[in-house]
């Protein structure tokens, strides 16, 4: 008997590009993220037909149309719920949710938190531009307090959500942050999210050129980014700044910046542990603190059984305890009587 060994055809970015013209505004951060996903997906070892990308409503939610995979552009806020149903129905799928700050945290907030707590295996990419783009420029649930927009001419009155803290509070098992302009790091985050079995949540800082341009410029401009971005790496000290000249040390439960120039050295710098939920909480609080750097990378990751695996193991357990049910048994499962 001869065995035919089928060599998997190596896929490239092109395999994931659909025939639809991309219609985001020129210069939108979404282009970069689309390219990153299209580059990473061929390398994940997943058959192309097993990818399913689900989105809600908003600029980011056009994403599935540009990917040559299975895709579902659903309704506002509901992508995690739709993705949940699909994943429970077919756990073989690699399910991705593409959403925005308004879609995920405002109209769809309920689905986001419940998906996170259930730990259904999917990757949620939340493009956070801190503004409503598709409805043309109102403040979003991540806009800073006092934001002047079309719907808040005297400044917004809502305190913003802190996405990693929200995800941690909801019981998320993989929480990370990436920046649209940092391709290498973002692609690494996407790979890690895929590798995590459970709900992976990546908050993507993404620039909206039209309605909120420059909101993350401190984190992306060459002149400032070294001073303002803290790249979290598991087991490594939290250093940042030009030539990693600064670090964070923990005093009580607060981080403070230390200069690594003699008075302090690398041993004084706190070492990141991505499996420490308390640490992740403290790190998430750095999101809106001006005098401390903004963390990117993996805040927290933990292996927990996934919802869909537990659904299917309950089914298996029921079948092994009671045997596979049949309609005959079902129909006669209570008192019956016969009429001759």
């Amino acid at each position: 008997m001869t065995e035919t060994i089928t060599q998997p055809i190596k896929m490239t970015r092109k395999d994931f590009v659909s025939d639809q013209e991309v219609r985001w505004c020129p210069g939108c951060g979404d282009y970069a993220i689309l390219a990153q996903v299209q580059k990473v997906m061929p390398e994940l070892g997943v058959a192309k037909e097993n990818f399913l990308i689900v989105s809600g409503i908003g600029c980011s939610s056009r994403f599935p149309y540009y990917m040559d995979t299975y895709g579902f552009h659903s309704i506002h806020g509901r992508a995690p719920a739709l993705a949940s149903g699909a994943k429970i129905a077919n756990p073989e799928l690699s399910v991705w949710v593409v959403t925005g700050d308004g879609d995920a945290m405002s109209i769809g907030g309920n689905h986001l938190i419940h998906t996170l707590r259930r730990n259904i295996d999917m990757n949620i990419l939340m493009f956070n531009n801190r503004i409503y783009g598709l409805t043309k420029g109102q403040y979003s649930p991540t806009s800073e307090l006092g934001k002047v927009t079309k719907s808040s001419p005297m400044g917004s009155l809502d305190y913003p959500f802190n996405p990693p803290a929200l995800a941690l509070g909801a019981g998320g098992t993989f929480i990370a942050r990436a920046i649209d302009r940092d391709q290498k790091h973002s692609m690494e985050m996407i790979k890690r999210a895929h590798g995590h079995k459970g709900t992976s949540f990546i908050e993507y800082y993404q620039n909206c050129l039209i309605f909120n341009d420059g909101t993350f410029s401190d984190l992306t401009d060459k002149t400032t980014k070294d001073e303002s971005v803290l790249k979290l790496e598991h087991g490594k000290p939290m250093v940042f700044g030009v030539k990693n000249s600064k670090g964070l040390r923990l005093v009580g439960s607060q981080f403070e910046v230390i200069e690594l120039n003699g008075a302090f050295n690398i041993d004084d710098v706190f070492v990141h542990n991505e499996n420490d939920k308390n640490l992740a909480m403290i790190l998430s609080e750095l999101t809106y603190v001006d005098h401390l750097p903004t963390p990117v990378g993996i805040f927290y990751v933990k292996d927990e059984p996934t919802y869909e695996d537990m659904v299917h193991s309950q089914i298996q357990e029921a079948v092994s305890n009671k045997g596979r049910g049949s309609l005959e048994q079902l129909f006669k499962s209570s008192n019956t009587w016969t009429v001759e």
């Binding site: 579902f72 552009h73 719920a81 949940s84 089914i315 596979r324 049910g325 129909f331 009429v339």
Partner: protein, 613 residues
């Protein structure tokens, strides 16, 4: 075993209502009586009625819970109108239900609960047992609680347990009154409370004490015999409406070779569908209790896209929340069943009471032109076949289907002839794996159903969503002509189903003076009224619609052959309006909104009123 001094009278049918406080176990008592009656061989129909409060204050009018059953030697369609027997376990139950008892009917009372406090709670100024309020009835006053106490004296039970066993005393007494054996209930009690021997013993002694009380005392001079009904040969069981829906969808899944996915959020009176389905994991059923109504239906849409037979169940307020998503299913042309177990509306309305007021919502309640197929179930057992029909249409036509049930048939029960599994038809669906010429929105098949390419199928990768689609290729399109074409196409997908569903055949003659058109849970009351009027040789016919959108294609022709059309509904005239709009015929409305099932006598009165004009 009947006392020799007691006469036995044969009756055709009897209606009994067990009523008491929410904590008195009336639902259990009624269910036991029903199961026993079914096994004996009567036809029967039941109607449980309970308060929306989980534990309303004990003894209050709001806390009264009841269970009604009609049983007969004939084929019956309803739980009955007026009562032959009322069992009232406390003053509040007497106050709420006495008005429904027939003259000279029997009222069985647990005297123990007629305390000053309970009388006050029920709003009685003086004890009705000491006035002439009950003079037109045969009253059986028993201190059930005291007698149960005596029967269980040696067990040294807590007074609370004694009081809670009084329902079994009442059940035993009614069993004796109708010459029934207690064996089935003995078995039931032994199984249900197997882990609590004390409760088994208390209940068994109470049951027997009640039975023997009737047998040995001469309070009641006559007992009754209701002979077995003539059923079609076969194996039967009792079936409740929500249970039948669950069974129907499990059957549809088996017959279509698909896995069943249920996504939903608990809501009265639909939650039992979820409860039943979650108990059948060994049938492979996947149930997902979602975070809200929206996630319930949206998860089902996701499961439908992924290739499962996907359903959701809710009640009116839940459908309101799901509306946008149902529109998405219309746009995506996916097979999906949305069950609405209707309750009194609007808003929170009367959550535990029945109504038929969501027909407009089902047919028209979405943004844009978003036509859905709408069908309705007519009796508890019919829920089984309506579920199968809903799944069949959804899969055959790649379309969302709304299935209307209501609180009355959801919780009611009747005997169900168990079908032969092999006789139930297999289903077709539109799954495809052939990339040759594949287009996601290809509508070239006979009934305009698009192909069902599910994720995981190589070469058929495609995108769908809520934006308007180009016919065929399925990409997003703002083209004016295409949009107009697609709106009409989605409407046609619904309309075309009329070609495929069976023609209506009126019950009664094909033409005549009066045609009654009904839908949903009023079937039994209307049919009973029409059967009655036929005894008087009057030309009244009945069409009961299962298919509400589209209507059966011959409905217009049937209507033309009658002088008048009467449409009885538990709403303000929703089907009547739809019939007028579609067939341009005058319809006579009959609308009652009491949160209760339609009464046969009300329909009969209305028929006579119309025929007398």
């Amino acid at each position: 075993m009947t006392n020799s001094k007691t006469n036995v009278t044969e009756l055709t049918e009897v209606t009994i209502r067990f009523a008491g406080d929410s904590g008195d176990g009336m639902q259990l008592t009624g269910t036991q009586f029903s199961d026993n009656t079914a096994i004996f061989g009567n036809d029967l129909a039941t109607f449980p009625d309970y308060p929306s409060e989980i534990r309303a204050p004990a003894g209050s009018l709001a806390g009264v819970s009841s269970f009604q059953i009609q049983f007969s030697k004939l084929d019956i369609h309803t739980p009955g109108d007026d009562l032959n027997v009322l069992v009232a376990m406390n003053p509040a139950a007497l106050k709420v239900h006495l008005g429904d008892v027939k003259d000279n009917g029997t009222v069985i009372i647990n005297e123990a609960n007629f305390t000053k406090k309970n009388l006050n709670l029920a709003g009685y100024d003086c004890n009705p047992l000491e006035t002439d309020l009950l003079k037109n009835f045969q009253t059986v006053k028993v201190d059930m609680t005291k007698l149960v106490g005596t029967a269980t004296e040696d067990l040294k039970l807590a007074p609370k347990l004694i009081a809670r066993s009084a329902n079994m005393f009442a059940l035993g007494l009614v069993y004796w009154l109708y010459g029934r054996k207690i064996d089935n209930t003995v078995d039931f009690i032994q199984k249900k409370f197997a882990k609590k021997p004390e409760i088994v013993e208390a209940n068994l002694r109470a049951l027997k004490a009640g039975y023997n009380y009737g047998n040995t005392l001469e309070l009641v001079k006559t007992t009754y015999h209701i002979p077995k009904a003539k059923f079609e040969p076969g194996c039967y069981r009792n079936m409740m409406g929500n249970q039948a829906l669950a069974y129907g969808f499990m059957t549809a899944a088996e017959k279509s070779g698909l896995e069943l996915f249920y996504g939903g959020y608990p809501i009265t009176p639909a939650s039992d569908v979820l409860h039943y389905l979650s108990g059948y994991k060994n049938m492979g059923v996947k149930t997902f209790q979602a975070e809200d109504e929206i996630a319930g239906v949206v998860s089902a849409i996701g499961a439908a896209y992924a290739g499962d037979l996907a359903i959701t169940a809710t009640s009116g307020p839940g459908v309101a929340l799901k509306s946008e998503a149902i529109g998405l299913a219309v746009m995506a042309e996916l097979p999906l069943v949305i069950i609405n177990v209707q309750r009194g509306g609007p808003s929170t309305g009367l959550p535990t009471k029945t109504e038929q007021s969501d027909l407009y919502q089902a047919v028209w309640g979405r943004n844009g032109e978003a036509p859905c197929v709408v069908i309705s179930a007519s009796t508890p057992a019919d829920c089984f076949y309506t579920a199968i029909e809903a799944a069949r249409i959804a899969l055959k036509f790649m379309i969302p289907v709304i299935l209307l049930s209501d609180g009355y048939i959801a919780n009611g029960s009747e005997p169900w002839r168990i079908p032969d599994v092999d006789s139930l038809p297999e289903f077709e669906n539109h799954k495809t794996s052939d990339p040759d010429g594949y287009e996601p929105f290809d509508h070239s098949s006979e009934f305009l159903a698009r192909p069902w390419a599910t994720p995981g199928t190589p070469g058929l990768e495609h995108r769908i969503g809520g934006l308007e689609k180009w016919d065929g290729a399925g990409h997003v399109s703002y083209d004016p002509e295409n949009h107009d074409h697609m709106l009409r196409l989605r409407q046609k997908k619904v309309d075309i189903i009329a070609e495929e569903i069976p023609d209506e055949v009126p019950y009664g003659e094909a033409s005549g003076n009066l045609l009654i058109i009904s839908w949903g849970g009023t079937m039994g009351s209307v049919r009973s009224a029409v059967e009655h009027i036929h005894l008087e040789n009057k030309k009244v016919s009945h069409v009961h619609l299962r298919h509400l959108n589209p209507f059966p294609k011959n409905l217009g022709d049937i209507i033309k052959r009658f002088d008048k059309v009467l449409v009885p509904e538990l709403n303000l005239g929703q089907l009547a309006t739809m019939l007028r709009a579609k067939y341009l015929v005058p319809t006579i409305q009959m609308n009652i909104n009491h949160g209760k099932p339609l009464k046969t006598s009300d329909v009969l009165n209305k028929i006579n009123e119309i025929l007398g004009e």
